[in-house]
Amino acid sequence: MTKQLIYRNLIALVVLILLSGATALTATLFDGSLRHGILLLLAITKVMIVAGFFMELHLAHRFWIFALFCLIAVISAAIFLMA
């Protein structure tokens, strides 16, 4: 069980690092609002992975999962609209 959790966390870390690489690549390759959209999408995905795996949010009551993801989505949407 512990080994399984360790592997899951390691996979989460590898995915996060790959997404960070994709973030840097996006900033170089894309322009305009498409870039803003992709960058925010990647940021939201990374936040969800950190919260879900590292903070063990999947163990928590679904209220916390829903509330956190809604908050991140609202903040991101507002940033995108303002930009």
Binding site: I17, S20, L39, V47, L71
Partner: protein
């Protein structure tokens, strides 16, 4: 309390405790409002923001992202090891998480010195006002997180049987909050 006896599915007992989750929500809202204001001024003063952003070192910020994420992984591993009663390994991973945080502060300081030497201080323009406020507050959170981990780490080394899982999880949740905030700050400030 042993980890097995905590029912995380109860609304009032999320991993790290309800108080820590209230703090996490308040912090996310605060930084979120800061980033929304930043985005607004970014659209109003597009030229100034674009020119100023090109003065930032995205390479160092990417390295810091890597360091914080890896540090978050070590923190999660520490909690896992603690739950399986491997206190020595839990302490080892806790220290690795702290080293990641300290390296983050070191790299951020190098970045700050460069900006001050180039004259990009808090009052240089609107972009740098946001840059200093948002990254500065985040850095303070990382520093506070290191102090929390230091206190838990010391207890974990000297009297591991007295450390409660709630304390370690609360420290871990605070540490991951620093990750979450940085993951939003990094693309918006450095790459947008």
């Amino acid at each position: 309390m042993h980890a097995d006896s905590i029912n995380y599915k109860k609304l009032l007992y999320p991993p790290g405790g309800i108080l820590m989750w209230i703090i996490i929500f308040i912090e996310l809202v605060s930084f979120g409002l800061g980033l929304i204001a930043y985005s607004y001024f970014n659209s109003v003063e597009a030229d100034t923001f674009s020119r100023s952003r090109s003065e930032l070192n995205a390479g160092l910020a990417t390295l810091n992202t890597f360091l914080l994420l890896t540090s978050g992984y070590f923190m999660a591993m520490s909690v896992l090891r603690f739950k399986s009663r491997s206190f020595h390994k839990a302490h080892h991973f806790l220290w690795l998480a702290m080293v990641g945080g300290l390296l983050f502060i070191l790299i951020k300081s190098i970045e700050y010195v460069g900006k001050i030497e180039s004259g990009y201080t808090l009052s240089a323009n609107m972009f740098f006002t946001f840059y200093w406020l948002l990254t500065g507050f985040h850095l303070v959170h990382v520093a506070v997180g290191i102090v929390i981990l230091l206190v838990i780490g010391r207890q974990l080394k000297l009297r591991p049987e007295t450390v409660k899982i709630e304390d370690l999880e609360a420290g871990a949740a605070f540490w991951h909050m620093c990750d979450l905030i940085w993951l939003l700050l990094f693309p918006v400030l450095y790459l947008f």
